[in-house]
Symmetry: C2
Subunit: 235 residues, 2 copies
């Protein structure tokens, strides 16, 4: 017989109902919505369940919530997107191509001032500079240009970076907690063009990334992708 329960109230279903009311303009952008307790009564569930649903929508940017002030529909909804940061080996594998890796250069050197400032190196301090090419099948995929603070990554100076990319070595051996990410477009100079197999002057997507272990910057990397590369995400 299995009488279906008239109250299948998961937090997802509450979220769906709230979203429906927002889309239907029952709760227009900028307006207040009822408080959690009232909503819980109206929808027939516990306040914690309403809280879970509304919190989720707030994280997604659909709602603005403030203690005591209440909850209102965001004036400009969906302002956030989750970006999957490409782990190069996985990204290439997902394209169904064989992943390849070639170390181009590796040396301890004094970085240019901008990098030295980013890594917070002492005056004249040295850092490990690694350049490498990642391949998708036989085609160049991305060029990695990376500076590493040796003190923040003990063991890196002894690592064999011709076999494992610096990125993967760091992921496995240097604990890190956060960092920054920025995107821009650059024009291929002769060196980049030769390595990536494109014409000089081609517009390329470049991703700059710094990684921190909580106290210092472990590494600063620039990834310059092959011509035509697009970074995708869903809202």
């Amino acid at each position: 017989m299995n009488q279906s329960p008239q109250t299948a109230h998961t937090w997802q279903s509450i979220r769906a109902e709230v979203l429906r009311r927002i889309r239907a303009r029952e709760w227009p952008p900028g307006s207040m919505i009822p408080n959690e307790a009232d909503l819980a009564i109206e929808l027939g569930c516990a306040r914690a369940t309403v809280n879970r649903a509304l919190r989720d929508l707030a994280e997604a940017g659909v709602l603005d919530r403030r203690r005591r002030a209440g909850t209102r529909v965001a004036a400009t909804p969906v302002r956030r997107a989750v970006l999957q940061i490409p782990v190069i080996r996985d990204e290439v594998a997902a394209l169904g191509q064989a992943y390849g890796y070639r170390l181009l250069s590796r040396k301890l050197a004094t970085p240019p001032p901008s990098v030295a400032a980013t890594l917070a190196l002492p005056e004249g301090g040295a850092a490990l500079h690694v350049r490498a090419l990642h391949l998708s099948g036989a085609h160049p995929f991305v060029i990695e240009d990376r500076w590493i603070t040796p003190a923040a990554a003990p063991g890196i100076l002894d690592a064999d970076l011709s076999q494992v990319s610096a990125n993967e070595w760091l992921v496995r051996n240097a604990p890190f907690t956060g960092g920054t990410l920025s995107f821009g477009a650059v024009s291929a100079d002769d060196g980049l063009a030769a390595l990536l197999g494109c014409l000089p002057g081609t517009a390329l997507l470049r991703l700059d990334r710094t990684t921190s272990d909580g106290t210092q910057i472990v590494t600063a990397a620039a990834l310059t992708y092959h011509a035509g590369y697009r970074l995708q995400t869903t809202i």
Copy 2:
């Protein structure tokens, strides 16, 4: 006297402790961690509190969780970043510049095949094509090139897009739920160069965005930013 409670166990503090163990390599990448019930006993809090902490870390990409299988430290941590989608007016205002807007063109037309496919238009169907320039002070900031499905945005054909940008009109008047976002680099052609005030051939960051109301694609937009623009985020 206010004896400080020896158990100030918020879910954030539990999360911090778990993160500490991961960073300290007590729980190395790829390894299993104790189950929620055991952790709750060990740390002296309720299982729900542990659940909240671990769920948060899983959303951040630090942990992989599966029912029955348990929780393990992700082999490649921190794979996700939250990207703040630029609402142009706000972005310019945050730079401390006056926001300006100029409508370049507006007409109903048959879009090129790629756009028609994206919008799922019937054969030969028309869509509204809007081009506009957004200004930061006196400087060009970004060019918006947008196609809108009229049926999905009732009222758009009567809107005065010389005063309000199509983007803002849509945000306020067309409910939407999701979409896609992709980034790439393009070379400035003569037209773009003239509008953005740069040399032809300059590498520019381009953001392509589609917006859906759940059943159909409402709009497809290409935003081409001024030379040197960088999109930033933190992990």
